[in-house]
């Protein structure tokens, strides 16, 4: 049996894991929100600061992984405690990816400021905000162990996928209208794809929260992928 001292130490470590994930989630969400601001405002300085800050998320992930390995080795947790630790590892990996995608959006803002503004910016911005809310809510679901909220986030991913597929089509038609818009629209397309991927990572985290709370991944198969990969638009469709 573990001693009282060990139990207290373990609880403290789990609390630290929770806190670190919550902080990392807040930063990942903020990076995405700021990337959308930089995009709309064509703000190179803001974009630069987002790119520079991505290392903080990389460091967060490394710290959480080190703590997970330490807890597994020292405390040898079981059942729910073990799920806590595995979940922290998986969630941190997903949040780090959210950060990478936000940073990549910021890099593309740097390219976009060099060409005339174009494209369906409002839809793109709205899609970004939806994804940021998903990240916010899924981290809240993790902190509160709120299964229903996690499932709600997971359901919302279909909305992001649908907007992405429609944006993909729309951007293709913009590109066909004039070659001057191709570079800009290509970057906007990748920004949209980044946001769609952020939605996927929020969904992965939601499933991890379900695993944490109930011990298994939810059954209902969700429509996983956007349909843009199958999209064909020809110039005469416009």
């Amino acid at each position: 049996m573990p001693s009282g001292h060990t139990v207290v130490a373990f609880d403290a470590e789990l609390a630290t894991l929770h806190r670190k994930i919550a902080e990392m989630g807040g930063l990942a969400e903020e990076q995405l929100i700021r990337a959308m601001e930089a995009l709309v405002a064509r703000d190179e300085n803001l974009a630069t600061s987002i790119i520079a800050r991505d290392v903080d998320l990389d460091r967060n992930e490394a710290e959480i992984e080190a703590l997970v390995v330490r807890v597994l080795a020292l405390r040898q947790p079981m059942a729910k405690d073990l799920r806590e630790v595995i979940s922290a590892l998986k969630i941190s990996t997903n949040l780090e990816r959210v950060g990478d995608f936000s940073s990549n959006c910021a890099k593309r803002v740097m390219a976009l400021t060099q060409v005339p503004p174009t494209g369906p910016m409002k839809s793109l911005n709205r899609m970004g905000k939806t994804a940021a809310t998903m990240v916010h809510d899924v981290v809240k679901a993790y902190v509160d162990e709120d299964y229903d909220l996690a499932m709600a986030v997971r359901a919302r991913d279909a909305e992001v996928d649908a907007v992405y597929t429609s944006l993909f089509r729309e951007l293709l038609t913009y590109m066909m209208e004039s070659p001057q818009q191709i570079t800009a629209c290509t970057h906007l397309m990748f920004i949209a794809k980044n946001i769609e991927r952020i939605g996927d990572h929020a969904t992965n985290i939601a499933e991890t929260v379900c695993f944490l709370v109930k011990g298994q991944i939810p059954d209902v198969e969700r429509l996983k992928e956007d349909m843009s990969s199958f999209t064909v638009v020809s110039p005469r469709d416009q």
Copy 2:
């Protein structure tokens, strides 16, 4: 102290983890190679079979994760044994992503067969083969615990990134030449991006192998990202 029986059972479970990762790696590599074949041959049937087979990789990942959780709970491994188990978890996540990207390439082949052939197919195919070799070699590095091979794979990622950045520019110029090529080139661009991401996942696995063998991630910072996100091409550059 663990009993002899426990040690034997643990060794058998580690051997199973190794075998499952090796099999999963083989399948992920094969999916990518076949996706490139489908692309070059414009083969819809092959593309369909690749898309259908992606569930096998999803199942592999779920099985490995279940085994990891089981081993952690029952055997409470430490030191190198613990690294073995954590590494298996991380590698399976990365291989599953390799599968997703290969499957996404196959989906885009379905769209590409509906439009006239265009684009720098040879370079794209070569890039795909390089990434497939990276996946092959990094799984071999894992099986053989070959640190040097893992480091060599990691170094090769810069080559894939450079080809991607150059392909991105080239595809932009193709698109500017004629609106008829925009849909095709957009899908080719995302295929190139998928391959670039597969290179990143092979690199992640290489770093995990280094962590497994030496207990830490290699120090030397590698040039992480392709430069395409910053690329601007205007029609007059052609």
